[in-house]
């Protein structure tokens, strides 16, 4: 058995559970977004602010993926949203099997939208579908505008790109050409929705929250 066969076998095991998750979410009519980024791009801060921004409008639950610790889950719990922690114990991505288990434990019937916060890694999670409705990639301006070109897979596969920490642009504290990043992302993925935001100051969060509200109301496939 060579390495390629092994890789295929692990991926196809994942695909089987991903397909089960797709069916489950479709039957339950729930939207599920798989949020992927490097460590420290601001996924948890975005989620907490999104949950607070949509309070009373959308019921949100979160599956938190981390290698170790429950630091992020604690931050989500502070918003009072239901949260389920998965520790991968060293593994570099969440698997569809883990999500299948998590969906059984979350109060899915009481939710409109489930966010999966994947392990901080811009590479591996892009190769493992979890049965999500769509992927959301987060890029912080502190990471540089060349990231869509250098890490194309996740930008090609995502429905939404959140360009976070734009508060750092105003003072010229980081070198980041927003138009270059947008153009490179659109070259990989013509239909990608791009929201420049600052989860710290709240700038741009209203457009992102409106998009989520529309997606829950209409179903993401209709967008």
């Amino acid at each position: 058995m060579d390495k390629v066969d092994v890789g295929k076998k692990i991926l196809s095991e994942n695909e089987k559970y991903a397909f089960e998750n797709i069916i489950f979410l479709a039957e339950q009519k729930k939207l599920c977004l798989n949020m992927i980024s490097s460590p420290g791009s601001g996924k948890t801060t975005i989620l907490a602010r999104t949950i607070n921004g949509l309070r009373g409008k959308i019921r949100i639950g979160v599956i938190e993926g981390d290698i170790q610790t429950d630091i992020d889950a604690e931050r989500i719990r502070a918003t009072e949203a239901p949260v389920l922690q998965i520790n991968t114990e060293g593994a570099c991505h969440l698997s569809a099997t883990q999500i299948s288990e998590a969906l059984k434990k979350l109060p899915v019937a009481d939710l409109d939208l489930i966010f999966i916060e994947n392990v901080g890694n811009l590479v591996c999670p892009s190769a493992f579908d979890l049965g999500e409705s769509a992927k959301v990639v987060v890029l912080s301006v502190a990471e540089g505008d060349d990231k869509p070109a250098k890490y194309p897979a996740i930008f090609a596969k995502s429905k939404v790109l959140l360009v976070n920490k734009i508060d750092l642009l105003a003072g010229g504290h980081v070198d980041f050409d927003l138009e270059r990043a947008k153009a490179d992302a659109r070259r990989l993925n013509k239909a990608i929705e791009i929201f420049p935001i600052s989860a710290k100051t709240g700038e741009g969060m209203d457009l992102w929250c409106d998009w989520l509200l529309g997606s829950v109301q209409k179903g993401i496939a209709q967008q």
Copy 2:
């Protein structure tokens, strides 16, 4: 063959080449540092500034690992240092086999120090030894001070931690407790050398360059 066996087999193939690289580097009396971080922590900017700072003192060569593109290699070439590009074509880490090939192509005899810039990924590269003399982990303050706690493996295994982009601390543009990050890294790795730097402004780069100079002169094992 279950997943654990498969993982072990791939790792042991890597270990075989890593051992060959260790022998080769020891025979040639060359220092080789494997630089690991998330995408956008500033590895390439640090390398370019390090090469320029040590010009005339240490002869540096670079092995550039990227998933795609040769953007980083071009930036290193501008310093006139010898550089060898490896494109992993989607893979999330460099392998010892790739480094073995690269070491045959670089003018190793003319160099004192070889940097390996690994694929931007704080997780997977920590599991694949390349036969390097030591690992250097880079953490940008924009990523947050909780990263040593959340991604412990690479902090536990590294000889050096470079805390980059400290220029963002002065104006309070990011929330990052340097003492917390240091304490968490030292809890995982008592002997880790920590250099707060800004590759953009040059702050702290002299201490890092002095450490490199000492390491090349004395051999890293004697430090």
